[in-house]
């Protein structure tokens, strides 16, 4: 197993993402609040560059008491990484696709030591 430096904690603002080259692989490191997450830059769909996609909030559509709908909204608590190839959307926190648990990003081990971030492959 090899370990690669992914920068300092201070380099990442809340909501930031950095794609790090790790030998022949790439890993996307994400910060949400005070938590960090690391996923292989390889979409569970077609191996696309998922971590280089747009970060967007999950879209919701609220149902009223009478079961009607009117507007959509964003779930401010759920950030998605969207694969730029085909639009597959994954939770940055869990790695799961919004619509099916059959599709999940591959996790990279992440460690923080002395304010420095490392990912292990």
């Amino acid at each position: 197993m090899a370990e690669y430096m992914a920068g300092n904690v201070a380099d990442y603002a809340d909501g930031d993402r950095k794609v790090v080259v790790c030998g022949e692989f790439e890993v996307g490191v994400f910060r949400i609040g005070s938590e960090f997450y690391a996923w292989h830059n390889r979409c569970a769909h077609r191996a696309g560059p998922v971590c280089q996609g747009r970060i967007m909030k999950r879209v919701l559509e609220a149902t009223a008491d009478d079961m009607t709908v009117r507007t959509q909204s964003y779930d401010e608590a759920e950030s998605h990484i969207v694969c730029p190839w085909h639009g597959y959307e994954f939770s940055i926190k869990t790695g799961y696709h919004q619509g099916s648990s059959r599709f999940r990003l591959r996790k990279a081990e992440l460690a923080i030591r002395d304010g420095e971030i490392y990912v292990s492959l």
């Binding site: 197993m1 090899a2 370990e3 690669y4 430096m5 992914a6 920068g7 993402r17 950095k18 794609v19 790090v20 080259v21 790790c22 030998g23 790439e26 830059n41 390889r42 077609r46 191996a47 696309g48 560059p49 280089q52 996609g53 747009r54 967007m56 969207v82 730029p84 190839w85 085909h86 639009g87 959307e89 490392y118 292990s120």
Partner: protein, 413 residues
């Protein structure tokens, strides 16, 4: 543990892919995976890719044959600001294809192109071919796929033929690897015949295309002369699918996802039904048809549906000497994209029913949001290597009389 990063982090050159990202960076993973699968040594033909012809509309309108329409179009393109391209109808669904910008390459390819010796679209097509692992790429227009719904049938003639002549002059002449199934102004049969006669043997023209989004019966007697002419050329006739939100049968569909899923299959299901039940394959047994961009799942559905109904009502299709499904997997060819892969058993049965080893050809549909990659064919567990080679390129080489020698620059810089 081996610590590689003591010298500091190595960040990827592209942190977020957007409309300005170079095609080669967007498709870097595709290239890597094509190399891993050894596609450098396989002949790969992509039967359906696209360029955005409206980017070049100012050039294209100068090819309009009618001098008055041409002048009007040139002035419009020169003087109007923020206006849609002259003469094109399009569809509002085009605005939704990128899922609100989530899939940037669908919205635009605004990357830097420094090459000036060829048209920008030639450079973009070369970048796509050498990233996907493709030797020959057939390019189609994009908004013009709706032209068959234009209320002015003569505008389809002017714009369709202007596009054809521009494509031949500026794109096909520049690179032998780029091919076209030339646009037929199908709503005006005599003009479609003229297109076959005048442009059918131009460099890079390997067949003819009817854009399927239109309300014309493909079995009408008005088209028999056209089919006869095309059969005589030995080149295939393609039906390229599309959708249209003005289609009354789809008027209740409110999500683009639904419109796209149904529309792209529905138009070709209707045309195929008319094509087979009216015995066109019996009347033109050497005419090969190619059904593009409807995916594959519709084919076994329609085969079963038509076979069952035909056996109960053969007197309504008296020209048929075989089951509808037998015409569909003998006289007809199909392209793969967008290949439905979420139900592998169904996909395997689909390949069997289509007779994929001889009738199926790879298509990417690049740069559209549901594009496919050659690696998807390589990775199908139920295909032999020969079947994979056939689908990726050799079936196309036979159908279009192409040289199956790999010429792609997959390993290049």
């Amino acid at each position: 543990m081996n610590i590689q990063g003591k010298i500091g982090p190595q960040y990827a050159g592209v942190q977020q892919i957007d409309v300005h990202t170079d095609t080669r960076d967007v498709l870097a993973h595709a290239r890597r995976n094509a190399i891993k699968r050894g596609l450098q040594d396989w002949f790969v033909c992509d039967i359906d890719a696209h360029h955005v012809e409206t980017v070049s509309w100012k050039e294209i309108v100068t090819y309009i044959e009618d001098p008055v329409v041409r002048d009007n179009a040139i002035r419009w393109q020169a003087e109007r600001i923020g206006a849609p391209p002259y003469g094109l109808n399009g569809d509002l669904g085009l605005r939704y294809q990128s899922v609100g910008g989530r899939i940037p390459h669908q919205d635009g390819q605004q990357e830097i192109v420094k090459e000036t010796d060829v048209h920008r679209d030639v450079t973009l097509t070369r970048r796509a071919m050498d990233s996907l692992g493709v030797d020959n790429m057939v390019v189609f227009p994009t908004p013009m796929l709706f032209l068959g719904m234009h209320p002015q049938s003569e505008m389809e003639v002017w714009l369709g033929n202007a596009y054809n002549r521009w494509l031949i002059d500026r794109i096909l002449s520049a690179d032998d690897r780029i091919k076209s199934l030339i646009y037929l102004p199908f709503n005006t049969p005599k003009e479609a015949e003229r297109t076959v006669r005048e442009l059918g043997d131009k460099k890079g023209v390997i067949g003819f295309c009817v854009t399927s989004t239109r309300n014309k019966p493909v079995h009408h007697n008005d088209y028999m002369r056209l089919y006869s002419m095309i059969e005589e050329t030995g080149k295939p006739l393609a039906f390229h699918a599309g959708y249209h939100w003005q289609d009354p049968s789809l008027a209740t569909v409110n999500r683009f996802l639904g419109m796209h899923a149904l529309g792209f299959a529905w138009c070709n299901m209707v045309h195929m039904t008319n094509w087979v039940l009216n015995g066109i394959p019996e009347r033109f047994p050497k005419l090969k048809t190619l059904w593009i961009e409807s995916g594959l799942a519709w084919v076994p559905f329609l085969m079963q549906r038509l076979d069952d109904q035909y056996l109960m009502r053969p007197s309504e299709a008296p020209q048929l000497k075989r089951l509808p499904s037998e015409y569909m997997n003998h006289n007809c060819f199909y392209t793969t994209q967008p290949m439905e892969t979420t139900h592998p058993k169904a996909l395997e049965v689909t390949f069997e029913m289509i007779k994929a080893e001889t009738q199926l050809m790879f298509a990417s549909d690049w740069p559209h949001f549901d594009f496919d990659l050659p690696q998807e064919i390589c990775d199908l567990p139920f295909l032999t290597e020969q079947a994979k080679r056939n689908i990726l390129g050799l079936n196309a080489a036979r159908l279009f009389n192409l040289d199956p020698t790999p010429v792609k620059n997959l390993m290049g810089d």
